[in-house]
């Protein structure tokens, strides 16, 4: 689908995931490839399987059937050390940030270097000076160098997510998986955080797979959109200059043909509009 000659870094084939002994099918026959350097956005409503899909790519979930290959590693077969080595090259940005709130920002960013070190570390001073310098540089890239020694839980949500992004960049990953990175932030801050995430990844030539539920936010950045509905791929298309309102509505249609969930979602987004 893309004419890009670059090698694929992610290969997913016939991926299926069931929960509760098959009562819930989260992913159903999902297949796609991602070439290096692509910014791919996975869209879909809540419960469509976006998070589950991303969590398969770094081994946080095991598939029921199908194969997942990331950076040449068979994720399903990988265990222990192999999996940790893979995770070093695959950064993950979580919806809930998943930083350790009690630690300072720099300590959280340094956590990103743990995979390159042996043995547990506690406190920034247990990391080499060189790494501390790098951590501060990464914080500077997300605009938070002046907060380096502040406790992370004293920052605002958007700032916490930027610390988490700095942690991911600290890993020097080849791929970043971002699972609804802005879903807990308000729309204005969301734009800023997405901006930081994609800018840094483009600078470092990192492949990005990012799940979002706001189609319009996705279209600003993505090279390609993949749409999921009830665990199935219902859309896979490159994003070019021809995106307009009509096209966005069409994408919504594919994600939610009945419009029921979309209506629900729209109500969620615009509360407190009670007609007099």
């Amino acid at each position: 689908m893309t004419q890009n000659a670059r090698p694929d870094v992610v290969r997913v084939r016939n991926l299926r995931k069931e929960f509760d002994d098959g009562k819930v099918v989260a992913l159903d026959d999902v297949s796609f490839d991602v070439p290096e350097g692509q910014l791919l956005v996975i869209i879909g409503l809540s419960g469509s399987g976006k998070s589950t899909l991303l969590r398969h790519l770094n081994g946080l979930h095991e598939p029921t059937s199908g194969s997942v290959e990331v950076l040449g590693t068979d994720v399903v077969a990988a265990t222990g050390k192999e999996l940790r080595n893979l995770r070093r090259d695959v950064g993950f940005v979580f919806q809930q940030f998943n930083i350790v709130g009690r630690l300072s920002c720099i300590e959280n960013v340094l956590t990103g270097a743990l995979g390159t070190l042996r043995g547990p570390r506690f406190g920034a001073r247990m990391y080499p000076k060189q790494l501390r310098r790098q951590a501060i540089e990464q914080l500077a890239r997300v605009g938070l160098a002046d907060r380096a020694w502040q406790r992370t839980d004293t920052l605002s949500g958007g700032q916490q997510q930027r610390v988490a992004i700095a942690r991911t960049l600290m890993q020097r990953p080849r791929i970043v998986l971002a699972d609804e990175p802005v879903a807990s932030l308000d729309p204005e801050i969301s734009g800023q955080v997405m901006d930081v995430l994609f800018r840094c990844c483009v600078e470092d030539n990192i492949t990005v797979l990012c799940s979002l539920h706001q189609v319009d936010l996705a279209i600003d950045w993505a090279h390609r959109l993949v749409g999921l509905r009830d665990g199935k791929v219902v859309l896979d298309s490159p994003v070019d200059g021809s995106i307009d309102h009509a096209r966005i509505m069409e994408v919504y249609q594919r994600l939610d043909p009945t419009g029921a969930k979309l209506a629900e979602y729209a109500v969620d987004q615009q509360p407190a509009r009670i007609p007099a």
């Binding site: 946080l60 940790r84 893979l86 995770r87 070093r88 090259d89 695959v90 950064g91 993950f92 979580f94 809930q96 940030f97 998943n98 350790v100 709130g101 009690r102 630690l103 300072s104 956590t111 990103g112 270097a113 743990l114 995979g115 070190l117 042996r118 043995g119 547990p120 570390r121 506690f122 920034a124 001073r125 000076k129 310098r133 501060i136 540089e137 914080l139 500077a140 890239r141 997300v142 605009g143 160098a145 002046d146 380096a148 020694w149 839980d153 920052l155 605002s156 949500g157 958007g158 700032q159 916490q160 988490a164 600290m170 890993q171 807990s184 932030l185 801050i189 800023q192 901006d195 930081v196």
Partner: protein, 595 residues
Amino acid sequence: MSLTADVAHADPVRLLGSVPLRAPWTRRRVVLALIAVGFVAGAIWGLRRVEMSLFALVEGWPETWDLVQRMWPPFIPAEDRSQIIGLLVDTFFMAFLGTFIGVVLSVPLGLLASRNVTRNPVIRGVSRGVIAFARAVPSLVLALVFVRVFGIGPIAGILALGLHSIGFCGKLFSAAADNIELGPRDGVASTGASRGQELLTGVWSQMIPSVIATSLYRVEINFREGSLIGLVGGGGIGLAIRGYQGNLRYQELLGVTLVVIVAVIAMELLSQAARRTILGDSDPFGKRAGHGGRHFTLSGALTGAFLRERRAKRGAASRPAAPDPAPIDATTTADVPLAPPWTRERVKLSALSAAVAVCAILSFVLPDIDIGRLVTSLGDLPSTMWRLVPSNLDFWTSQIRSDLVETIAMGLAATFMAMLAAIPMSFLAASNVAPNRWVFRATRFVMILIRATPELVLAVLFVAALGLGPRTGTLALAVGIFGFSTRLFADAIEEARSGPREGVVSTGATRLQDTVSGVAPQVWPALVSQGLYIFDVSLRASTVLGIVGAGGIGFMLSNSMRTLNFEVTGGIILCIFVIVGAIEVVSNWVNRQIT
């Protein structure tokens, strides 16, 4: 819309007739009624078993008054004073070293017992068993054994406090590990960190506030318990209590009792101040710091701590992020230091570490505590514990059985008496319900005094006044538990929300009606679950009263140790463990019914 439609179409007369005028007997109501009836029946049986009426305190008044006259005024002879101070210092270092040993052993045990850390259910189960066992066996019982093995002196006391502390610290540490947020840990794991790195950065860093709070709080408890260890020869201020009691020197006995009370309160304030300074609002044990006392239940401490932490976190996350300028520019790295700056938090933690280090060094130079011997004794602990394992059921005599039944009877009776007095009293000790500030303060103050007096010291005094036997023990226990219960109940009452009360008051209700209809319905489930905890505490306390002749299994315990009959002692300890465990199972069940 649909709701109004339903009502409109319903036949009002038929509807009225079908509503009963009495609350229906739901399963929940039946269960609750059975629990209440069971408890009262048990308490009445207990009171009869120890041959005590609810008015025993009044009946024994002449003898008590006689003793009070012999005790007054309290007095400590000048030549004993420096020795008493020395014993107090010993008690402090016993508490410190005991806590130190307890915490060091509890950290790995707590992690092994945690669902989040240990995947193997067998290892987890064994660790939980060890923790439960350590909790069920009172430190005084352990001291009784260790004095025989390691000789009279503080070593036995330190080991006893250390081992018993595992029950408390291990339980809270494993709960802390169970209650961490899993997200940050996933975050660490997703960077490719090893398991050890994940544990330290993702798990341990979240446990730290709980570990600090628990350890500081445990020093306070161990000081209180350590002041009794001397009664069985295990070192500390209890030695002075035993000495004066043996020589029937009642003025001095009262004098040293007052010294213990003051020292215990001072320790309490010190530990509380340290926790408040270091942890601020996230101190799980010091919620009501302003009232100068302690607040504690295991579950309460835990849920309190984590709710507060979560609340704080949510507050931080939902804070409006307005100050962010529209585009985020990279900031400069020029002025950022590579070493952590001396923030307030870092200063506080360093001060705490320094204080621990100073205490550790001081305990090396302290004349009465031989650290070298302490370390070698630690190595002998496993073999000592092994000697306690009974090889047959010879200990299971009718005497033991009847003493065990008596112990349970004492625990039930004392809990019942204490709760009868504590429930009305706690309404006076709750700031939101008390008639005025002075009643509130006076009640709280008296309760602090009663709580600071260890039950066993009360038992020593009561034995002197009323003679030996389970009646005396039950009475001492009831008085001791009363102070503690009032405190717990009052704290629970203060948790009542004011909204529902405003609703009641706005109907024109009186003060008493407000208390009964606005406050009581909100707090009674908390009172029941605190009551269960009080029963648990009171039962464990009743097992040692016999050591000073106040009834129950304690007499057999100290007797079997006097004759070096390890297996009988071990058998009794096993029985205590089983009984305490059974009560825990029952309380957990009751707690599930009321929530």
